[in-house]
């Protein structure tokens, strides 16, 4: 009897092995985006923008055309690309230091302009690559290398809920927060990624999917307890859901 291959690497990813830490969920998120591009038949007409942070080199992983951007500037770079290739699918992949701190102006104004790009915002409540500093998304009380006694609202202010903030802008037509801590959540995350691309293709405006993610290394946790911490601690501050565009239905003719 011939063996049947039932699971394979998506051609949306290159053969290069990921460099991410054990238990980090960037790999799952990469795969979901790459699979979605392939399933929608847009791999060859997609252009991605890599951020600065742990995923600075995801241009080596995604098999579409890619541009590496300066820290926080991905939405501006994507704007330039999209204005040259308005019929292509343009996306940014950004972490919470990149998007919610140094790149706040760029993301707010790309959204406000209704720039027809999709942003995948990976929120793990910490700076990963530079070894665990406090991020704008760090929870109150969370210990980081720059908040060693726990983030205090008095000294360091409050976390930024980016999805809720951007959902106030008219140009941001689809905003959803998802997680990838279990099978059900992963399937929902993929649906959201697909919807973001469809919204872009339909020319409706700016779309963003915020994905709650883990950082076992800098959180000082094992992979399983890191997933539990997303479910139990992060989701209290960052509830999952659709903040804009729940009425938008993915229409078959958008394909």
């Amino acid at each position: 009897m011939m063996e049947e291959k039932v699971f394979t690497r998506t051609p949306g990813l290159t053969d290069k092995p990921f460099h991410y830490c054990p238990g980090c969920t960037h790999g799952i998120i990469h795969r979901l985006i790459a699979e979605t591009m392939c399933e929608m038949g847009i791999l060859e007409t997609s252009i991605g923008v890599s951020p600065v942070g742990c995923t600075y080199n995801n241009y080596e992983y995604f098999a579409c055309d890619m541009v590496q951007a300066a820290h926080g500037r991905a939405p501006a770079v994507a704007t330039g690309i999209k204005r040259v290739h308005p019929n292509h699918t343009v996306f940014t992949y950004q972490g919470d230091g990149d998007l919610a701190a140094i790149g706040t102006a760029e993301i707010v104004h790309a959204a406000a302009r209704g720039e027809k790009i999709s942003t995948f915002f990976v929120n793990n409540a910490i700076y990963g690559m530079t070894s665990g500093q406090m991020a704008p998304t760090t929870l109150i009380g969370q210990v980081t290398t720059t908040s060693p006694f726990g983030r205090s609202a008095d000294a360091q202010g409050y976390p930024i809920n980016v999805s809720e903030m951007l959902a106030t802008l008219q140009g941001a037509v689809y905003i959803e927060r998802v997680s990838v801590t279990g099978v059900k959540q992963i399937r929902q995350a993929k649906k959201a990624i697909r919807k973001a691309f469809y919204v872009q293709q339909a020319g409706l405006g700016f779309s963003m999917v915020e994905i709650l993610s883990t950082c076992p290394t800098n959180w000082g946790q094992d992979p399983v307890s890191a997933l539990q911490w997303v479910d139990e601690a992060m989701m209290k501050q960052y509830p999952l859901g659709v903040f804009r565009g729940s009425e938008i239905e993915v229409k078959p003719e958008w394909k």
């Binding site: 055309d65 541009v67 300066a70 330039g80 204005r83 102006a105």
Partner: protein, 355 residues
């Protein structure tokens, strides 16, 4: 010869860009260059292009980075404080080897400074204001006609060498009106950028990446070596300057841009006093025209070189490096938006020659 029209310098820059095939402009308002944006806001619609008013100069230069990566001829313009903000992007553009044209209509600094003309950004433009070992080609027009010609040429140079080319003007050039004759420019072959991110067909090519990051030392050194080789070719092939009345001169004056026009008039004033003044006008500030400066200075008739600038003495350092002790090098400059008068410059020349 084409019909000449009377036009403002800033508007001529915009029209030159459109004629050079630029269909993407990203900018942020700042005096004294905002007319470029006003003109682009209308003209790009006519030309089927795009003008985006960015949220900041930082965003504007990164839009340039993206549009250039995507294969377009692209322009951003600003003035001194805004150019400071764009320096991060300049360094990334250099590292990623992207073509881009940037116009700096310089105003007085430091800080918010003033809005009057100056040349105080010479160091920043020619020595690199961003991080890392990189160069930009820097062109210094001295008339509205030259603003047109050098803006068109800037796009050609940027594409040829895949690097940032800057027009370094000043508030006078941007704001003044002069007659200008436009030409029909050659159409652009956009298929000429196989490295660009344009979407791909797997049968035709691999996916492209645009990046300035190289984690491995050997990879980053290879990029740096490639850049330096390119800069060396540019030093050999792209130097431009003008010499006026230099043969057998008593004194050589070196000046660029608006300032060179004042010095040109001093030639006649000096001649009336029996002093033979020659002018060397660098048109490329980088690469600097060392040979033209040396050939003018290294004549037995020449007593000294005088550099005149709208700053506290910046290009004079390059003049001194070129002259390398052959002759004494003097400096005269004004700042804050003030212009040296012909008489000031003539008095300086007289004090040098003792007549």
């Amino acid at each position: 010869m084409n019909k000449r029209v009377l036009m403002k310098g800033n508007e001529v820059i915009a029209e030159a860009a459109v004629r050079a095939g630029c269909r993407h402009y990203f900018g942020y308002p700042i005096t004294p260059q905002t007319e470029i944006m006003h003109y682009m806001a209308r003209r790009m619609v006519e030309a089927g292009g795009v003008m985006v008013q960015a949220e900041s100069e930082v965003a504007a230069i990164n839009m340039v980075y993206g549009a250039s990566a995507a294969g377009a001829r692209v322009l951003t313009t600003s003035s001194s404080p805004g150019i400071s903000l764009k320096q991060e992007g300049f360094s990334y553009i250099a590292g990623a080897e992207l073509p881009a044209v940037v116009v700096n209509i310089v105003r007085g600094g430091p800080g918010l400074g003033g809005i009057l003309p100056a040349q105080g950004d010479y160091f920043q433009a020619t020595k690199g204001g961003g991080h890392g070992d990189y160069r930009n080609i820097v062109l210094a027009p001295a008339s509205v006609q030259e603003l047109y010609e050098l803006t068109v040429e800037a796009f050609n140079l940027a594409d040829r060498y895949r690097m940032l080319t800057m027009i370094l003007g000043d508030g006078t050039l941007g704001q003044m009106m002069e007659p200008v004759a436009f030409r029909e420019e050659e159409p652009i072959d956009s298929s000429d950028k196989p490295w660009a991110v344009t979407g791909f067909k797997a049968a035709e090519r691999e996916h492209n990446t645009i990046q300035s990051i190289y984690i491995e030392a050997d990879d980053l050194e290879a990029l740096n070596n490639r850049l330096q080789d390119k800069y060396q070719i540019i030093r050999q092939q792209e130097v431009r300057s003008e010499q006026v009345n230099c043969e057998n001169a008593d004194v050589i004056v070196a000046a660029f841009g608006t300032c060179s026009r004042i010095c040109r008039n001093v030639i006649r004033d000096a001649a009336a006093l029996g002093i033979h003044v020659g002018l060397v006008r660098p048109i490329t500030l980088w690469p600097f025209p060392d040979a033209a400066v040396v050939s003018a200075a290294d004549q037995s008739s020449v007593q000294a070189v005088l550099t005149v600038e709208l700053n506290a003495g910046q290009m004079v350092e390059d003049v001194r490096l070129a002259v390398n002790g052959l002759k004494p090098v003097y400096f005269h400059g004004r700042t804050g938006g003030n212009m040296p008068t012909q008489k000031e410059i003539l008095d300086k020349i007289r004090s040098i020659v003792g007549r």
